[in-house]
Amino acid sequence: MYVAVKGGEKAIDAAHAWLAEERRGDVSVTELSVAQIREQMTLAVNRVMAEGSLYDPDLAALAIKQARGDLIEAIFLIRAYRTTLPRFGATRPVETADMDCIRRVSATFKDAPGGQVLGPTFDYTHRLLDFKLAADGTVPEAPTRETEPAPVPHITEFLNKEGLIQSEPQSDTAPRDLTREPLELPADRALRLQSLTRGDEGFILGMAYSTQRGYARNHAFVGELRIGTCAVEMDIPEQSFAVEIGEVELTECETVNQFKGSKVEPPQFTRGYGLVFGQTERKAISMALVDRALRWKELGEDNAGAPAQDEEFVLYHADNIQATGFLEHIKLPHYVDFQSELELVRKMRADAMGALQEAAE
């Protein structure tokens, strides 16, 4: 039970004023601008856009500043803002095959057309603290190499030519949207992917890791991981044609997984898929592994009873805003609730004491 109690207004005002002061920190230190966060805390901005489910780097940077760097709080702010926006429509699906890649690696084919492009990666760094960054901010310019624009085809399409990997079913129906209707189970794959791409990175990573450790193992290879920008095209009501309304940076991961085949299909590889806003590589790989684990039913696999195969468990616990809302509400006043428990325990103790007394006599 929850009863409104008055009397906290002054305390709340003072708390919020202090919060603003603490957010600013030591005033002898230069204030951080939203542009600085957007440009220099890019991966935090990317995570807030992905899990806030709204692509707008300026807003995400503002949310991070307002939330004092608490990314889940920032995601909460973005989700709240998102609900105030009128929806102009849905875009055509982005064509990731046409992505302007800044990074593209494959763990399955060394000599894939388009090559292995490392991009601005943390991989191969030694993970030693770089004290130069604390001292000064000058950066040597990155090397460049003359290049001709060339298509960078999806690597899984090579396997597809031989029929060695499942092809993806096509459909023109509008996918279900969990921001428009409550998430009901069973969820189709479109709904699962929407839920995973906005799900908490830590949760999705943990679920993905559990499959690697043997809970519904599906032996994933990263067929391809690519990061880059894609144009976003939308049919607009004023015209009879579609126009590009902007471009978004995306990370895409395609995994190639084992498959025994079935009565109707000869053995062939199967796929897991991850697609996330921004440079969010850990999340995209995790998403692909969990997507694959959740596909057990449609691929005719056994349910090993693993958490990552349990659609209800994964989808109902992946959203960090739902989770944090329910978790954090228990710190709010529950005085009456607790009062009744207190009464109950006192009564039970009195009864138990009485019984002991009687037994002793």
Partner: protein, 147 residues
Amino acid sequence: MDPNAERKNWMSLLAKAPSGVLAGLWANYGAQPGFDWLRPPEIGGAMVRGRMGGTGAAFNLGEMTVTRCSLRLTDGPVGHAYVQGRDKDKARIAAQVDALMQGPGAADVRAAILTPLADQIQARRNARAAKAAATKVEFFTMVRGED
């Protein structure tokens, strides 16, 4: 040939233009044609979709912010804009350019705004591609000494 291809191109270019760059080019263009709003700038969202497995059926990936507006120039043509982000001035300029491109001054507008804009965007894209190309791995095989 798609009869709308040209208009589609310039509208797409305007949508992707960095706000500051477009505003600068517009200021340099000078003329400020009079117009009436058909729909004043409005900020909203578009649900961006992806394809399952990169090639399959669609799913909802997440939204992006978009600003749209429509206007009619005093001398006739109607311009529309759907541009990424929340910059209402950018949307207005994009709609004005869209309208001007349908009138007699199209060649001037193209030369003053669209061409330099396309060049800048292409230059930025090339610079990133050149940096990416420098991180391309050149494999070589070590001599294994088996023969």
